[in-house]
Symmetry: D2
């Protein structure tokens, strides 16, 4: 299993007139956690794109449990349990500073060739890296 977390503070512009973080921003926190995981594995997303591979989102599921607020210090988590073939499944969660679960969900990524736009398998460099980190 790969477990990765990144700490993010709620930003004022992320709140809405309900006085809490707008629900769409958790989808963005999820992305920050995924990209942080890539960075920690030594293969940042911008390197992956330079290597000719885009990773478009196939699907997102998000359940909202507790609202995050201005002043909150969030822990944003990405978990990968299996090396990808055509798709990469990532479990995601956002906790506040009291370790209360704010939101969790599952994001599925695909892989496409940057030039042709065609779906491809997960590039070897990435799947091997994931496999290695899962077994660490």
């Amino acid at each position: 299993m790969i477990y990765s977390e990144v700490n993010l503070e709620v930003r004022y512009y992320e709140t809405d007139q309900m006085g809490v973080v707008h629900h769409s921003n958790y989808i963005r926190y999820f992305e920050c956690a995924r990209n942080n995981m890539m960075l920690q594995m030594g293969y940042p997303i911008e390197k992956c794109e330079e290597d000719g591979v885009f990773t478009p989102i196939v699907s997102v599921e998000c359940k909202y449990h507790h609202p995050a607020k201005m002043g909150d210090k969030l822990k944003c988590v990405a978990i990968v349990e299996k090396a990808p073939l055509a798709k990469l499944f990532i479990k995601q969660a956002v906790y506040n500073q009291y370790n209360v679960l704010c939101a969790d969900g599952i994001v599925v990524l695909g892989f496409i060739d940057k030039v042709s736009g065609r779906p491809i398998r997960c590039p070897d460099i990435l799947s091997k890296m994931i496999e290695q980190h899962i077994n660490d």
Copy 2:
């Protein structure tokens, strides 16, 4: 069934460095479609909030089928099939100008008292309005 649609043009800032609309923005398009539905029923979301009720998101599911691009004219759809008790289920979809399905999903809303923050049932005014529009 209540069917409502709103036309939105892709905005430049909604694109990302993949050259297409960032996946989080479909969650926002969904919201525009829902709020447009409320407006068309004669009970805009800001009126609902003035009446003391917030409608926080319980969950979001979104599947991505085809990327929207700068220049696209989108049709954003909200469908309600059943009057809510504690929760309101809304089917959502985004189509481009060629009627290609870009994304679809389901959003579930809850209802809370604006002052106490406590979960409540769907306010009568809203549930009756929905019921009436479903039967129209």
Copy 3:
């Protein structure tokens, strides 16, 4: 003078916990008005980019006069008074449905070659189009 306006409704996610549209979103409304102007002149921004020219922002000035709110129907204006050489100056404004000025400002655009990233003069096709529309 080229005068162009586009109608935009305030979106819920654009509000913040002050209960009004977050100030950064007017900068985005300005962009919508500019891109709408390009579209109306028959040369949409995505075509300009396909032709190899990016139009990065050089500077933005924005004064805030009256807060826009959820439910507001905004008129977003772009005005060009002079054909560009190296830079394009655009006057911008946002009005609400009561014709109250919410914000105004000036945005300056430059032109760069998409491949080299180097600053260039305004492409002929665009400067001629602007000149022609100014004289109409």
Copy 4:
């Protein structure tokens, strides 16, 4: 003089199809730097709001010097040189990890009573805090 900085990594969703951070996001980085300054002075923005005072933006000026990119680690700066009466002037800047200036500008804040919406002077607690930190 009060000098405050906060480190922010570029987020993928902040990029646009030019392949760099969208210009509106620097306005948001500026805000993060301001709110971080408030936090460091021991008076976070959410506390200020609880105390009944909103701080709406009066004006924003931003000059763009060098594009920030995915992978960049930004230093976002807020500088205050004078205690506010009716308005607070803040110098702002964003640097990348090579200390290259990406953008700078000036943001002016006002103060309004949260309930009445009326302009007020800077609350004593805040102006004294700023004065004290300027003299430190």
